[in-house]
Symmetry: C2
Subunit: 421 residues, 2 copies
């Protein structure tokens, strides 16, 4: 009894932010340290009257400012799975949905977690969950993607075991190796701990990532893999380039995303400076930054021109008229920009990582085999010389039968995954 | 010529801090981002008149407030190598030595990098290196340990290649997998880039770490390994415990180092709370924190008592009288506390990581096979029950012939490494 009551007291204290921070010293300096991992704030359940199978997509948020590739892909898989389940819910653990987000899910009903709704398609905000519980039935099953949504769903599934005698089933849509998003730490350890290759079903965003997991000893018994495909919004522009190829401008496009450490913005800048100082040809080239830069950047030998976040038509135009792309990604995940640049016939400089070598994806891609400004700069200089040597004519557009140019559908994977739930 | 002059201009600008930061937006918010990696500020060289082999130890600092285990171990290896070289230098790249530090190296001469000294044992501050160069001869070779000292030495070695026709040789004392100290990023990539298994000699601090490197595809052709041994300052206390074993107090010692992410302080606190709420026996136990905590910490079900940084006699007394130790390390490196606790007969709860399972090191160690507060809490509860079940008698002290209790000497490794230089 003590443990139950105390546990409640703790959850109350935690939700109120009363859990203490630690006072410590390092090198004589005082520091205040967290004693909890915010991402793991408990999601508690109560028995639901709901009977039958129900798919629950746990997401941090569906609001536009959080709605990036990873969340969009999770929603696509959820939509493909919907037809296999009599009922579905989207449970939001970080941010409540705003009006615009709800509009995008017009076929869903907004439900407060206090209600035990029988609506067939629900959106349940569960970000503000102090003293609140989510109604969970015996056959609720879970689709997750960010590691902390997986963490919560795994504990809800364990609660189902206690309550109903059978643990809930879980589909983990794995879109990167998330422990790599942190230094080795509590967070990286907890993220790593959410990989349960003997228990959960894994759906991997790319075979490269799936293979990396196996290399790390994380061999999922039940795994599915899908590969990246070209954004539909770029297809017409690619067809146009194919129909009417033109020499490219002496323009280099770099993917500059300083807010995402694995895009290695500092290393990109160091490599560009090194290239600028060491390659006299650099004076003849324009270098532009797609991504997040909003002000031009003086890199010493040249100015990196900021294009900010481009809409799809502007991005397509850039891909169709530029010669060279530079895009780094410190992860086994390929990321889209180098693939898109290669599809449009650009010469691409990127990096290898573990089992990833995008040169296997396209002959237009050069993967630097060492992480140093000098090696990346030398790869850029070779691309520059090659383009100038052939009077700015591109070598090859991506073959029309390349897997990257196929239409994506989650229907097949969804059908296979659904029978396991 | 352009590139040389521009390069100088860049180095001047960089040293003056004039290299620009980038302006970007994410989710509509403005951010300022670095465009350089501070750790890689160039170390430039000029030809030295020095002839003959000279060992150069590159270190961030030798001042007391930076003088932790890793730097001490590097100095021990340097001292063992000294006798194989006619001359040696210690080059400090982050902090100039203070008077107390210089006193500890009384056989060394403090030398300004502007001088081309012939002193046989030099200390050269090179932290403030704007517009300055280090005199380097053809047979200067390099001993490094933190990744950015390796990064600098590799570029000095490449300069030797250009200047003298032969690249400098490098011994990399590898004491952890340093890319793991960062999220996947420019820093992690550059740290990873300093591992050159085909070129450099590696001296690994523990076989576990060496094996982890091989698992990551980093198989050094020339590698040496040494294993951890008990600190000499703890040996008498262990002998005393062996001579006069006593029942242990109901005391748990946790290794609390919030300033070091890989010690997973938040996860430790979460696990302790979970144990406190779920195990009624917790009310009978005292839980104390060795490491950095300076104020007691309310963990909910109990208070974690702060012991701060202990001197060796106090630490030895704690090891000799306590029953259970909890020490996490999110790294393949074993770290000392769990080994020391096990040597003294304590029951130890720690974590596995990749190829690391310290249960192979001592039967007193339990390595949790999953990163979750629940799993670690359950391991603690089992230890508590086991100690109470045997009336607080310890099971076994470490056997006197255990490798951890051998005397450490770097003489053998130094002899083998020196002939490769």
């Amino acid at each position: 009894m003590r443990s139950v009551l105390s546990g409640i007291a703790y959850r109350v204290a935690r939700a109120l932010g009363l859990t203490s921070s630690a006072t410590a010293t390092r090198n004589g300096a005082m520091i205040q340290a967290a004693t909890t991992v915010a991402e793991t704030t408990p999601c508690n359940a109560r028995p639901s009257d709901w009977l039958g199978r129900r798919l629950n997509l746990l997401l941090p948020s569906i609001n536009a400012r959080h709605y990036f590739g990873g969340i969009h892909t999770a929603v696509q898989l959820y939509r493909a799975l919907e037809k296999h389940f009599p009922a579905t819910r989207i449970v939001l653990v970080d941010s409540a949905p705003d009006a615009a987000a709800l509009e995008r899910f017009g076929d869903h009903t907004l439900v407060d977690c206090a209600a035990d709704s029988t609506a067939n398609h629900q959106i349940v905000p569960f970000n503000d969950r102090y003293g609140r519980t989510l109604p969970v039935g015996a056959e609720d099953c879970w689709l997750t993607t960010a590691w902390w949504t997986t963490y919560s769903a795994q504990r809800l599934a364990a609660w189902q075991q206690q309550q109903f005698g059978v643990a809930g089933r879980l589909i983990n849509l794995i879109q990167d190796f998330e422990p790599g998003f942190y230094p080795w730490s509590s967070q990286s350890a907890l993220a790593l701990g959410t990989y349960r290759p003997d228990q959960d079903v894994a759906v991997f965003n790319t075979g490269l990532l799936a293979d990396y997991f196996e290399l790390q000893g994380l061999a999922y018994q039940r795994r599915f893999v899908f590969e990246p495909t070209l954004n539909d919004g770029l297809r017409q522009a690619l067809a146009d380039v194919r129909a009417n190829p033109q020499p490219r401008q002496r323009r280099m496009v770099v993917y500059a995303r300083p807010s995402t450490p694995r895009n290695a913005f500092e290393l990109l800048c160091e490599a560009l400076r090194e290239w600028g100082w060491s390659d006299p040809a650099s004076a003849r080239w324009e270098v532009v930054a797609a991504g997040e830069l909003t002000a031009d950047l003086d890199l010493g030998p040249f100015t990196l021109r900021a294009l900010g976040k481009l809409d799809l038509p502007a991005y397509a135009q850039l891909l169709a008229t530029s010669a060279i792309g530079v895009s780094l990604m410190i992860s086994p995940h390929p990321s889209y920009p180098p693939l898109e640049m290669a599809a449009f016939g650009m010469g691409v400089v990127t990096n290898r990582f573990a089992n990833k070598d995008l040169a296997e994806f396209s002959p237009n891609i050069h993967s630097a085999d060492q992480f140093s400004p000098e090696v990346i700069a030398a790869a850029i200089a070779r691309e520059v010389a090659a383009w100038e040597g052939r009077q700015m004519q591109h070598t090859s557009l991506m073959a029309t039968d390349h897997a990257f140019l196929a239409e994506r559908s989650f229907d097949e994977i969804a059908g296979q995954v659904a029978v396991l739930q």
